[in-house]
């Protein structure tokens, strides 16, 4: 029993099925829409997107969490079409990918304002719709956790406590500080995925164990961004890893008994906005990565835990505590 918000309305936890927790219909930095270099006719974008999600579904996939925050390509009405056409549940997020993607209007806003904004998108709706967010995005700017990033983390934690949804982050850089911020705001660390722990950007496999030991989730969620996929036309992005190296990293944590503290996802864009992605799809999670895990001896039960059980417990909304936003505001006012 439980509830999860999707672009087509709330669904029951049991309806989630095989879930990829960190994906994108299309992510792009604010402003990329003005550069015609990246324009593609909607029917073509839709076709590519539908084909990828259909493949995911044919392989048993049922739900994706779209980790595109405010202003970076989140497009609710478009996603509703995609979800209807493919049958894949899409869980939309509030929050910001990182401080450097925050648009000017929001850059100077207080923690209280941002917490209210996220809470509004979870409980009332996103951008004037009645579609409610199912999780909150926070993340680290290029160059490390910034002051604005920290405001977003604190606000995300407050809204997460108040509304009962979890947090997923962009990057594991400064992971200890990320977790400190979450704890300072009184949110349990089992409500956060520290994302992109398997990406090359700020890579630190030792850190995975600290994240797991503190009770947060380690995000192995750039699966398929393999250096081997680079071509002269489209080089692998700077966060790509050799495929085998990523598997080694994941297996090290699993073999230490922490598979229950990890999540797996692809961070694939169905259609990247404003940047050139190597060939990539959420379907690769089921097509390539799960067989690779099994080859390395990962059991069916563990696979089910990674694809179904962990996402279900993580995404299921906990009892909302709306008074917490008010309480936090009062506490701040008193300081």
């Amino acid at each position: 029993m439980g509830k999860i918000n999707t672009v087509l309305g709330p669904i029951a936890t049991e309806q989630l099925g095989v879930t990829a927790l960190h994906e994108h219909i299309g992510f792009g930095l604010p402003g990329c829409d003005l550069d015609t270099k990246w324009w593609e006719a909607r029917p073509k974008m839709l076709e590519v997107t539908i084909n990828k999600l259909r493949r995911f579904r044919e392989l048993g996939g049922r739900t994706i969490v779209d980790c595109t925050g405010i202003g970076t390509g989140r497009d609710i009405s478009y996603w509703q079409v995609v979800s209807r056409v493919t049958g894949v549940n899409i869980v939309p997020m509030t929050g910001f990918v990182s401080g450097d993607t925050v648009l000017p209007y929001f850059r100077d806003k207080s923690i209280e304002y941002l917490a209210d904004l996220f809470y509004h998108e979870i409980t009332v709706g996103i951008e004037g719709t009645n579609v409610k967010a199912g999780a909150i995005k926070a993340g680290v700017s290029r160059g490390g956790l910034s002051e604005l990033d920290e405001r977003v983390y604190r606000a995300a934690a407050r809204a997460a406590r108040a509304a009962g949804v979890p947090i997923l982050t962009h990057l594991s850089i400064d992971a200890d500080r990320q977790m400190d911020l979450i704890e300072m705001e009184g949110l349990s660390l089992d409500r956060i995925v520290i994302g992109h722990s398997d990406g090359k950007e700020g890579l630190d496999p030792e850190r995975d164990f600290r994240i797991a030991e503190r009770g947060a989730y380690v995000g192995y969620d750039t699966i398929g961004f393999d250096t081997e996929k680079g071509t002269p036309e489209v080089p692998a992005p700077f966060w790509a890893r050799p495929k085998g190296e990523r598997l080694d990293q994941v297996m090290n944590l699993f073999n230490a008994g922490y598979a229950n503290r990890a999540i797996i996802s692809c961070d694939a864009n169905c259609f990247a906005l404003g940047w050139a992605s190597t060939e990539h799809s959420v379907a690769e999670l089921l097509e390539n990565f799960i067989p690779d895990l099994k080859d390395r001896g990962v059991s069916d039960e563990t696979v089910k835990m990674l694809l179904v059980d962990t996402p279900a417990s993580f995404l299921t909304m906990q009892d909302p505590q709306p008074n917490l936003v008010e309480a936090a505001k009062k506490a701040t006012a008193q300081v």
Binding site: P30, D33, D35, T36, E40, A41, D100, Y105, F238
Partner: protein
């Protein structure tokens, strides 16, 4: 292009027209001004009908007072809505000139400042210039759908605390686009207008094609920037008519004196006047000064201070018409399908 166009062509949102059709011009204002991101905030009302109604009233009043053309200097990322401007222009008969360009840095999205490269960096200079130039020659963009009527001017701005490295980059990209198209560049100067003009000149741009805005600030007046900039050959924009010393700008009395001083020095062909008015502001406070202010308040004061009718005409018509004219034909709007308003995405 059509034969009726003489030498001087100006690009309005409805297409190129001859400069002398512009009549009285109000440059250096913003028609619709939206802080980027405000459209995503639940407390912000995004109602195009309200925007349209308010702007239509303002434009009709401006026209009643004798105004014929209005120039939006907001660039491409601060709420510009060329489709709305085209409708307003058709309905009111006021010529509207839209701008391309970006800035100040605080009003720009991270696609332009922090690209997904290692290390992160801004959009390359040649790409910036190409993007701006295309908005003049191929039409302004409506995100991921189409191009519509052209931009007629390239606008950028620097931080009031001093121009940043990224803003220098924007200035250089704007200058390159101006060289490619023959369109003028309008800057809203930061701390050091002379230095900012140098950046554009070093890029190879003739300073007579540059409008330097904000030269009626108290600081600029104290330094004598208006005279310095005009002597260099650039266009001085005293573009805060109606703003007062407690907001950091000289009074209209002083502004009128400044214009007369420029005329006395033989630099009367290098000055324009505006109020930096915002027609409709979303997500920020704007001055209550309207499109009418220059004609109803400044011009009478200017006449009283001793200006001749010829000087008034120079200020409101001759100068802006010349500056807004494209140099040569290389920047002339050429929609991909002749005679059609829109160019669809490929």
């Amino acid at each position: 292009m059509a034969d009726h166009l003489k030498d001087n062509v100006v690009q309005t949102v409805l297409g190129p027209i001859s400069a002398d059709e512009l009549g009285v011009v109000l440059p250096q204002v913003q028609i619709l001004s939206i802080i980027p991101g405000a459209e995503f905030a639940p407390e912000i009302e995004m109602d195009q009908q309200k925007q349209y109604d308010a702007l239509k009233v303002a434009l009709i009043e401006y026209k009643r007072l004798g105004g014929q053309t209005i120039v939006d200097n907001g660039g491409m990322f601060k709420g510009r809505n060329v489709q709305l401007y085209r409708t307003l222009s058709k309905e009111t008969g006021v010529h509207i000139i839209a701008s391309t360009g970006l800035g100040p840095g605080t009003m720009v999205g991270s696609y332009f400042t922090t690209q997904q490269t290692e290390p992160p960096g801004p959009m390359p200079l040649d790409r910036l210039a190409e993007m701006f130039a295309n908005e003049i020659t191929k039409g302004t963009v409506i995100p991921r759908r189409e191009r519509t009527g052209p931009a007629g001017l390239i606008c950028t701005a620097a931080n009031k605390d001093g121009i940043t490295e990224f803003e220098k980059h924007l200035y250089r990209g704007s200058a390159q686009a101006a060289l490619q198209t023959g369109a003028a560049v309008s800057i809203q100067a930061g701390k050091d207008p002379v230095y900012e003009l140098d950046i554009l000149e070093k890029e190879g741009l003739d300073v007579s094609r540059v409008i330097v805005g904000g030269l009626d600030s108290l600081d600029a007046d104290e330094r004598g920037d208006a005279l310095t900039i005009a002597r260099r050959g650039a266009i001085v924009a005293l573009d805060h008519a109606g703003w007062t010393p407690n907001r950091g700008y000289v009074s209209n009395d002083r502004r009128a004196q400044l214009v007369l001083e420029l005329f006395k020095e033989g630099l009367g062909d290098r000055v324009i006047i505006s109020s930096n008015a915002v027609g409709y502001a979303v997500g920020h406070e704007a001055s209550q000064i309207g499109f009418d202010h220059v004609l109803t308040s400044f011009v009478p004061m200017f006449r009283e201070a001793g200006a001749t009718e010829e000087q008034v005409k120079q200020l409101l018509e001759v100068n802006p018409q010349r500056i807004l004219s494209l140099e040569g034909e290389k920047g002339l709007f050429k929609p991909e399908v002749e005679g059609v308003d829109i160019t669809w995405v490929k």
